[in-house]
Amino acid sequence: MKDMHAISLKVNGREHELVVEARRTLADMLRHDLGYTGTHLGCEHGICGACTVVLDGAPVRACLVFGVQADGAEVRTVEGLADGEQLSDLQQAFSDHHALQCGFCTPGFLMLAEAYLAEDATQLTEARARELVAANLCRCTGYQGIIEAVLATARARHPGRKPADEP
């Protein structure tokens, strides 16, 4: 007997109701039950961060969260970043700074950075951006472009506010 649960959640502002098995991960639920395939699975044990989504405002590894835990929650995925055909400032910065190659890890980095920038982007230094980006794995870029894109977005969102460690 499968242990099934009826849950409801909001993904990128849209309501979903579904019945999921207790052991089904949030990542599998988003991808295979709800069709949000932009959330990627790179390791399924919480290290690579490719599956990072924003759950009630906080970045989480969707492979380490069960779908049922998202009952009643608001989830943001990479599909919710752009405004129609218009890329978000962060997405555009990723393209401008060549912060992606194969693009598999990219949704995870975008959601990680989005959650951080929404919380506090005013004090983002190069060192803190590097520390943030070190939370996830990328195998293509060497990270430089990702760090630059996150920094550029933070600066553009808070013009004139320079972090303490910069002249």
Binding site: T37, Q101, G103, T106, R130, R139, T141
Partner: protein, 775 residues
């Protein structure tokens, strides 16, 4: 105005940034089944029994297959055969039948409605294996040789006997691999009525894989269509033909239903090609003035349990490329390929060269100490000069003659040293910092290398203008994250005279391009790009011919730019302007502008053939900091100077180089597939297999040189995929050696903290800071 050489934003980016990329696991088909592979838990043993009774009875399970269910004794053949080697006894079976040879070897496949249920059922398969002792140390093994190869020329024995100095080192290169972020995935969709199979998830060499699959299934190859997909990194390992590449399509054909398989990370780390593990005993003979008179290397390659699709191409490349950019009058490289009870090996970005460059360049630094010559000066004295180009070595590799085609090696070395000094590398390396817990020692390391790129023999491209004026490119290359769609769009736009945004590239769809040779060996821009260039030029020529008929003008009076044809010098440019869309319509069937017997359509197919590779080259330099107390190595600065002939898109070339450096630092310091004494793999998660994060990778300085256009292709390009990783092992080893002030070499990569502590203890105290310490 040409778009070649511009930093055009990537065409791939918008879909990938929106989460609309189409990776393997993003494809599904109605009614699909899922597959789970049952793998050997034993490194070596006799397979007595596979009991599938319980697994088959599990709810939701459709079938469980073992070797007995397969249509015959199937093995995966070699794709890159090297003349003179017979590997037929060492090929991997699709499913093990009587002997298992590594942990992770496929034994059975469970097929069912749901991946979770399949995983449950897979654990119910009873596996009875009588263990046998595993072979795990190739360096001390004499009995499991799969092949021996020698590459070389000249009388090395005489040169070594007559040498003023002989310097020798041993260097072991650790077992690591590409480890792309996306695990493998396959979906095979059968149409039982038409007998067709649509495949999603194959890449790299889709046409070769299609043909092999057709042969193994005994069907016509045109019944199989491999679709173009996004791939989450390739690096050599993804897209080779593995057992699963037969099993999943075969199960789809057998069940008449779509079958999908998505590998998990633990599987990936034991199933996908490992690479790199070699033991080098390398020596050079020098004249009194430091000139190399001979070079020799005895290499053992730990190839794992089988010879897979690459055969012995990796060790062959090591032996063939070992002399690098230097004048080496006599050379002999000998490789013994040993089979062990580990995951089989294949190529990983700069295959054979990461290893060989490390051995040669580390030897040169040790030799510089012995000979009392600055390591950069020692290299400078031995580099081939432009006057010696092209330089033919009597060596063959991958079936081609090794002819270093062009370049000014001393100039690039000088430019790299100047750039490193401008950026303060050597000054920073001399500034040692002390802490209460022990000295932090800094070191500078440099290495030089020759890469290879643009392997033929051919690539085919189709360029077609549709009625809307859109330009469609069907290339045999595949999209692996390298930006091939953007690069081919730029090449097309330049040759045809259109905006690159009107160019749509399809890369790696076997129905769209049935003659493609794939994306590997840094060949796509060189060989694939040249084919696209030629096809686009042919379309341009045809467009002008048709436009001349429409405009009733002479072809030589016409210009094609910005997607339209105009009559040169015509004051009324508006009336005499014809768009490519108009010309495509003029080329439509039944158009009055077509002459009798002329084929319709504004389209061309061209094949670019090339019999020799082109050889880019580069210099790497680094500053490292070694904590002698903890053994931790931090790479503080990293520079890549690279000759690329001509950069179609410098942003993408720099991206390739930077990404390569990051992977190289992984292999030099962190990544290693270890095994315990029973042959159990010790790196089966990202906790043990340590991919570098942003905390370990410094910003990478790039000096991109376009001074030596390749004479072997119309674009003058050289490959860029592997120049970032080639010399990282060498450079980091040299910098750590410099930091520790070692008299000899570091002995082994990766330089994990434990190994660095051992080396630090061996280092002779020189009284005071040992930075740059050459006693």
């Amino acid at each position: 105005m040409t778009v070649i050489g511009t930093r055009l934003p990537r065409q791939e980016d918008p879909r990938l940034l929106r989460g609309r990329g189409r990776f393997g696991d993003d494809f599904s088909a109605p009614g699909q089944l899922w597959a789970r592979i049952v793998r050997s838990p034993s490194a070596h043993g006799l397979l007595r029994e596979l009991d599938v009774t319980e697994a088959v009875k599990t709810a939701g399970i459709t079938t469980v297959v073992t070797a007995r269910d397969l249509p015959g004794k199937l093995v995966i053949p070699v794709r890159l055969a090297i003349a003179g080697t017979d590997l037929s006894r060492f090929l991997q079976p699709v499913l093990a039948a009587d002997t298992v040879r590594y942990v992770g070897e496929p034994l059975a496949v469970v097929v069912g409605d749901d991946p979770y249920a399949c995983e449950d059922a897979a654990e119910l398969v009873g596996i009875d294996i009588t263990d046998q002792p595993p072979v795990l140390d190739a360096s001390n093994d004499k009995d499991h040789t799969a092949a021996e190869l020698t590459r070389g020329y000249g009388d090395t024995a005489a040169a070594f006997a007559a040498a003023a100095h002989v310097v020798a080192i041993e260097l072991a290169i650790g077992r690591h691999s590409g480890v792309p972020l996306e695990p493998r995935c396959l979906l095979a969709v059968p149409d039982p009525d038409r007998g067709t199979l649509d495949i999603f998830g194959m890449t790299k060499v889709p046409v070769w894989n299609r043909d092999l699959l057709a042969d193994m299934l005994g069907i016509d190859e045109t019944l199989i269509r491999v679709h173009a997909i996004d791939a989450g990194g390739g690096f050599g390992v993804r897209g080779e033909f593995y057992p699963e590449d037969f099993l999943i399509p075969w199960l789809a054909a057998k069940t008449g239903r779509p079958v999908k398989w998505a590998e998990d990370r633990a599987e990936h780390l034991i199933a996908v090609n490992h690479s790199r593990q070699q033991y080098h005993r390398v020596a050079a003979a020098f004249a009194a003035d430091g000139r190399i008179t001979a070079l020799r290397d005895d290499i053992i390659q730990d190839n794992g349990a089988y010879c897979r699709t690459h055969g012995v191409a990796v060790p062959e490349l090591t032996a063939a490329m070992l002399p690098g950019p230097y004048r080496v009058p006599a050379y002999r490289g000998r490789v013994r390929v040993v089979l062990t009870n580990k995951t089989p090996c294949g190529t990983y970005r700069a295959p054979g060269r990461f290893e060989g460059t490390a051995a040669r360049e580390h030897l040169l630094d040790v030799a510089a100490t012995r000979l009392g010559i600055d390591p950069i000066e020692l290299r400078r004295r031995n580099l081939l000069t432009p006057r010696e180009m092209p330089h033919e070595r009597p060596i063959s590799t991958l079936g081609t003659d090794l002819i270093l085609d062009t370049g000014d090696y001393p100039a690039l070395l000088a430019a790299a040293v100047k750039e490193a000094d401008r950026l303060g590398y050597r000054a920073q390396a001399r500034a040692t910092t002390g802490t209460s817990t022990g000295a932090r020692l800094r070191g500078f390391g440099l290495a030089m290398f020759v890469e290879k790129s643009g392997l033929g023999p051919q690539e085919t491209a189709d360029v077609t203008v549709s009625r809307s004026g859109a330009v469609h490119v069907h290339s045999g290359g595949t999209s692996l994250g390298q930006g091939i769609e953007t690069v081919l769009a730029q090449i097309t736009a330049d040759a045809l005279g259109v905006d690159p945004r009107t160019v749509r590239v399809t890369a790696g769809d076997t129905a769209a391009q049935p003659f493609g040779a794939g994306s590997w060996a840094s060949r796509s821009t060189v060989v694939g790009g040249s084919a696209v260039h030629q096809a686009a030029l042919a379309v341009r020529e045809r467009a002008l011919q048709l436009a001349a008929r429409v405009l009733e003008a002479a072809e030589q009076d016409l210009d094609l730019a910005d997607g339209s044809v105009s009559v040169r010098g015509d004051p009324d440019a508006k009336t005499a302007r014809l768009s490519l869309a108009d010309i495509a319509k003029a080329a439509a069937p039944a158009s009055r502008y077509l002459e009798k017997g002329e084929p319709a359509g504004l389209s061309a197919r061209r094949r670019f053939e090339v019999s020799h590779m082109t050889y880019p080259y580069g210099v790497h330099a680094a500053v490292v900091e070694v904590d002698a107390g903890t053994g931790q190595v931090r790479v503080l600065r990293y520079l890549v100077a690279y000759e690329v002939g001509r950069a179609i898109n410098p942003m993408l070339v720099e991206g390739q180089l930077r990404g390569g450096v990051a992977q190289g630092i992984g292999g030099a310091l962190f990544e290693e597939f270890g095994y315990d004494e029973a042959g159990q793999p010790q790196a089966i998660t990202f906790i043990e297999y340590r991919l570098p994060t942003a905390a370990e990778i410094p910003p990478v300085d790039v000096l991109l040189s376009q001074d030596a256009p390749s004479p072997g292709n119309p674009l003058g390009v050289m490959g860029a995929g592997e120049g970032g990783i080639n010399a990282v092992g060498a450079t980091v080893a040299n910098a750590v050696r410099d930091a520790l002030g070692l008299a000899g070499g570091v002995g082994q990569l990766p330089l994990t903290p434990a190994r660095v502590c051992t080396l630090a203890a061996l280092a002779q105290p020189t009284g005071g800071p040992v930075t740059g310490g050459r006693a």
